[in-house]
Symmetry: C2
Subunit: 219 residues, 2 copies
């Protein structure tokens, strides 16, 4: 296997990064069905993306397909999981144990994709000192102390918008290198800090708008 896998250090375009998990889930599905090889043409038919685009995307992860038979499925899964970072556990602290924050603490699925939430922070005295999904909730004031002895470098932001920037600044000052922002607030960070925005509410807005558009057009 080593021969056909090489380290690629080019910057991977975000659209490619967003499509790779589709290929991964498709490969897992094919494996479940007992297949051992899959070609980009086969993937293309199943998920409705151009085969040439798939081949181009997969060129980033440095796996070689064989003419006619395509990619070896087990290898494709291993290489994609590794490339996407799902096999390394990344540790995170979550800030704001409200409705969404609490829900994420309970979502054991994240751990299967490489994210371990090591602890949560809030100021609510009813929450501090308790656990959700086995994850301890600390007082926000103790964040810096916890950072000192930890290898956590990701912060999950699920606080109310009025403190989103303040908590972001606090995270960055404490040493957090990447922020997964679930708030609809556009946070500002210094250069070199990664921000991944996942506003469920923005996605809802897009969906509602498209739905109403179709209604108007009687689709």
């Amino acid at each position: 296997m080593a021969a056909s896998v090489r380290k690629v250090v080019d910057k991977v375009p975000e659209p490619t990064l967003r499509r790779l998990p589709w290929y991964l889930s498709n490969a897992k599905l094919m494996k479940e069905r007992g297949e051992t090889f899959v070609s980009s043409t086969q993937i293309s038919r199943q998920i409705n993306i151009d085969a040439s685009q798939i081949a181009k995307d997969l060129s980033y992860v440095a796996i070689s397909g064989r003419t006619r038979v395509g990619y070896q499925i087990d290898q494709l899964i291993t290489v994609l999981e590794d490339f996407l970072g799902f096999t390394n556990m990344h540790k995170a602290y979550l800030f704001g144990v409200g409705s969404l924050g609490g829900a994420l603490l309970r979502d054991t699925g994240l751990a299967h994709f490489g994210l371990e939430i090591a602890g949560a922070f809030d100021v609510n005295p009813d929450l501090v000192g308790t656990t959700i999904g086995g994850i301890p909730i600390h007082h926000s004031d103790d964040f810096e102390e916890y950072m000192k002895n930890s290898d956590v470098n990701i912060g999950v932001l699920t606080v109310p918008i009025n403190i989103a920037q303040e908590i972001t600044d606090k995270m960055v000052a404490g040493g957090i290198k990447a922020i997964w922002n679930f708030t609809p607030f556009r946070i500002r960070v210094p250069e070199g800090i990664v921000v991944q925005n996942t506003s469920l509410y923005a996605h809802l807005a897009v969906m509602f708008n498209r739905l109403n558009e179709n209604k108007r057009n009687n689709l």
Copy 2:
């Protein structure tokens, strides 16, 4: 107010739809701080988006700013919430009460943004007949029956990838018009059906990748 609000039926670009919730949260924040007017220049400084882009985006929602003083904040909030569909309650059924599905049922935040999950479907006998967050869980086989007497037109997809397409087909056959797809599987739907993909795992992949890139570059 009526004079400055008009119905706009042009297709709104998705990037605009994704930015509008940022302006909404910013306006709410300004209101909290006691402000009554906000200009696109002020919003621009706070959230780091070109003022001209903000003005262009806001032209879709048909609110007029006044020279020098800008937009009236209360009106901006009302018009944006209405435009984004957060003031109308949209009913949804959720499919697949696993870890993420259960978490979404517990997330009361969705209702504040216009999404009411009216019921959930699963085949797990331990779950069917119970409720989570007050939402009843029915057997998947009863979905069509429930659709007959309901005004639900949105389906939330949180099933395992190996049945994602099958459940999608079932939803569409039952009359669902928009699917909020949380699986990393790329589902296929007939024309006229809205799909909103929100793969938390794809977002994780992007974040991990950027984080590792920065590490390599010693940022």
